[in-house]
Symmetry: C2
Subunit: 197 residues, 2 copies
């Protein structure tokens, strides 16, 4: 019954990713030891590394998973919505929450700073988010919702820069309860203006 | 001759700060050992720690120095100009350059993430930049240069979020040569709009 086997493998893979996500978010990349990964996933190291070659591959799979989910939110609701979801979830959330996205994304940011090899492996993955953001903006422009006096490339880079600032802000534990109107302003900045002064 | 003595002390203090700045920028906080600080400043550890109680105090003095200089730029030319200066200087610059501000600021960001005690000591210092930004915006509003449909507090938080994103972007070694038009957009966002669509 190869079909059942495949389902089983997928479920197991999912179980590992979910456990590992909390583990990386809580302890950071270096702090997520194999023993802690075993505890967090409820599986033996043998089972974990049957599915993922090593810790680096496991982390990259997670980060890639997050980019994929962010990409889906971006495609439907835009990058500002990704930011709103980051804001709306209290830090230290558990499981499949934006707070865990944040944990993974912080680790990505940190390793991008310190690990040139990781930077190279990550570049192509992060590009997916840029592409999704750009495509969403192009569709919005076609629908007449986007300002047309600024290049879409510039608007994309603008939104990504604000996202990076938000991740950094949250990572530093700075107060975030006053940032909703800032995101309103960011959203308004890329939209078609009807205001006159 | 107490006057000469004071000048001498001030010059010595400046010599230590300048050397230490490059040293922290190059090696990070942990990597800036006492031996490396001696090499970078050309002074003995005895001389260095005559002026600063410990490495932490030296680092805070540096960071405070940077905030003061950023605050001066902000008062005269605004926070976007601070960002433009960060962009215009190649990484790894030496001496009194924005690249060294960036190095110190990155260390501040990193330690804010990982060191709650440092976060408390830093909070009051970083507030100076927020105050200067806010005051600059208020003056711009009085001069009729600022949009008046968004609260100055929101505009201040917006500019600070973009600055944080820029610092993070540069820290990750991502390409920055396409960011000038993004900063134009940021600047335009806080200004009075005359466009109609």
């Amino acid at each position: 019954m190869p079909r059942v086997s495949q389902d089983h493998l997928d479920a197991r893979r999912r179980q590992i990713l979910d456990g590992a996500r909390s583990c990386f978010a809580r302890h950071g990349y270096e702090g997520a030891t194999v023993r802690r990964l075993e505890e967090a996933t409820g599986l033996s190291r043998g089972a974990i590394f049957h599915h993922f070659r090593d810790k680096e591959s496991l982390f990259l799979a997670l980060a890639e998973d997050d980019v994929l989910r962010m990409t889906e939110v971006v495609a439907q609701q835009g990058l500002v919505q990704v930011m709103r979801e980051l804001l709306s979830t209290p830090a230290g959330g558990d499981g499949d929450s934006p707070a865990d996205w944040l944990g993974t994304r912080l680790e990505v940011s940190r390793r991008l700073r310190t690990d040139p090899e990781f930077r190279a492996r990550w570049a192509e993955r992060s590009e997916q988010l840029t592409i999704a953001t750009r495509e969403r903006l192009l569709r919005q422009r076609q629908a007449g919702n986007l300002r047309d006096d600024v290049d879409v490339t510039v608007l994309t880079a603008f939104l990504e820069l604000v996202l990076e600032g938000l991740v950094s802000h949250l990572a530093m534990g700075l107060p975030a309860d006053d940032l909703d109107p800032v995101l309103d302003l960011v959203e308004e900045t890329v939209r078609r203006h009807r205001r006159t002064t």
